[in-house]
């Protein structure tokens, strides 16, 4: 058993229970994409890119009055401690699904009938909370692409370690801790768009963890907003 929180309430990387890891977002990193973003969240290094809305192939998949969304979350072979073979695992397929649903919460799909929006996420380096960092990156990439959105989405996990509810779990806290709760959140609409959890949470702990995750999400939202503003101003200067 590894001790994850010391006598001073500090975590292995020196953070307090409610402290985020550093988050850095860069918008417009993939030239060919209609929108793209790069995020560093802790040791996570993730690229997201949006292609579309574009024509649907094969035709029989199209929906006459709204857009289809596809999402692929993929981890590079060198992104993990042990090399990860390139073919998608069940975990990657499930995360692709929950990310797609989270996205669908913010998109005005009816504005793009008969079309498809492809979102690709590549994890270049993974750390705890990669699906949360991915949704933030996706949201930035969608904003960059100019697709109509109801709100932005950000993602941040909370969890439980050494009996305490903590924010934004690192890899080791995820593996050795007692619970993990990835949350994605629309800050202006105040709605949860992705929620998973596992571990052992009392009802009280569950509520505390959810509140903490939302608090973290609000902070990440500020980082995202800043990144988008910066990109926006830069564009203005041209």
């Amino acid at each position: 058993m590894i001790k994850l929180i010391d006598e001073n309430g500090l975590r292995l990387d020196g953070r307090r229970f409610d402290e985020l890891r550093p988050v850095k977002i860069e918008v417009g990193v993939i030239k060919n994409a209609n929108g793209s973003a790069y995020i560093e969240h802790g040791k996570n290094k993730i690229v997201a890119a949006v292609y579309g809305p574009r024509e649907v192939h094969p035709k029989h998949l199209l929906i006459p009055d709204r857009a289809i969304v596809r999402c692929r979350y993929h981890m590079s072979p060198f992104s993990t401690e042990e090399r990860k073979p390139p073919q998608p695992t069940r975990r990657e397929i499930e995360i692709s699904l929950v990310l797609r649903r989270a996205m669908e919460c913010v998109l005005f799909l009816e504005e793009y009938p008969r079309s498809i929006i492809d979102v690709y996420v590549e994890v270049l380096q993974s750390d705890g909370g990669s699906r949360c960092a991915s949704i933030t990156a996706i949201s930035a990439a969608l904003a960059d692409s100019g697709i109509s959105m109801k709100d932005l989405i950000v993602g941040c996990a909370s969890g439980k370690a050494d009996g305490q509810i903590i924010l934004d779990l690192s890899d080791i806290e995820d593996k050795e801790g007692e619970g993990d709760m990835p949350v994605a959140y629309m800050p202006n609409l105040d709605k949860i768009t992705l929620l998973q959890f596992d571990g052992i949470f009392s009802e009280e702990e569950f509520k505390k963890a959810l509140d903490l995750a939302i608090m973290g999400n609000k902070k990440i939202y500020e980082v995202l907003r800043k990144a988008l503003m910066e990109k926006y101003f830069k564009t203005e200067e041209k």
Binding site: L61, I63, P64, D65, R66, I68, R90, R91, I93, E94, S96, L97, V98, R101, E104, C105, L109, E110, M181, M186, L189, D190, K191, I192, T193, L194, L195, Q196, F197, D198, G199, I200, F201, S202, E203, F206, K207, L210, D211, I214
Partner: protein, 272 residues
Amino acid sequence: MSFKRSSIIENLRKTQMLDLLSKQKRLDGRALNEYRPITIRLNPIQKANGSAEVSIGDTKVIAGVKVETGEPFPDTPQQGLLIVNAEFLPLSSAMIEPGPPDEDSIEVSRVVDRGIRESQMLNLKELVIEPGKLVYCVFVDIDILNIDGNLFDAAFIAAVLSIATAKYDKKIVNEGKEEITKTPLPLRLIPVSVTSITIGDNILLDPTEEEDSVHDSRMTITFDEEGHLCAGQKGGSVGLSVEQLFKIVDLSKPKAEEIRALIKKVISNAYP
């Protein structure tokens, strides 16, 4: 299912549903927090170490447990293996095509897996034969036989029952002689998952396929015997407020107790 639907039809159906819901009614006459009847057939498959067929209304699944021996994962040399696999059989619905598992069946597999694993239903440490070399592998295979909503709970109950009643050939060395005894799996508790959906402000437990097809959000929560939340999975493409979520937890918890009581009764009837 992630069937591609026109939002026109979807919206029409939803409007009708909402009309009814505004009177707190459901198409099949149930109360919003009411489950359909749960029917259980224990041990239908004698070749499996444990098995159970579970119906919730017209949703029908069958789970079978096979216990074999194999190598442990390198990062858990001191634990047996639990492998959960759900298949949407093509005979279960006109919408299912044969083929390798798609995202929906992978989601069911993984949500059931997490619920069992995180609740610590099974003491995997007791399933080691030789640490790092040889352990027991508990394969839980779930066949979806007929789809009418709430596959998560049907699959979960079937998986839990087939694990809870499974007996495997345990090799024991007794005074130098190897003996094989039919042994139950090392159980700690019975976890239960409860699935609900939201349509507008309404929370409906145990949705039918028709209800599920117009859900805003779906939420599956697994509870252990002390009422702890062990695993959760949000579905659906509409956001959920914190208040709604807490309300779902409050509605789900007592329902989990009811279902657990049913499961335990079935087990104790069968193995008094």
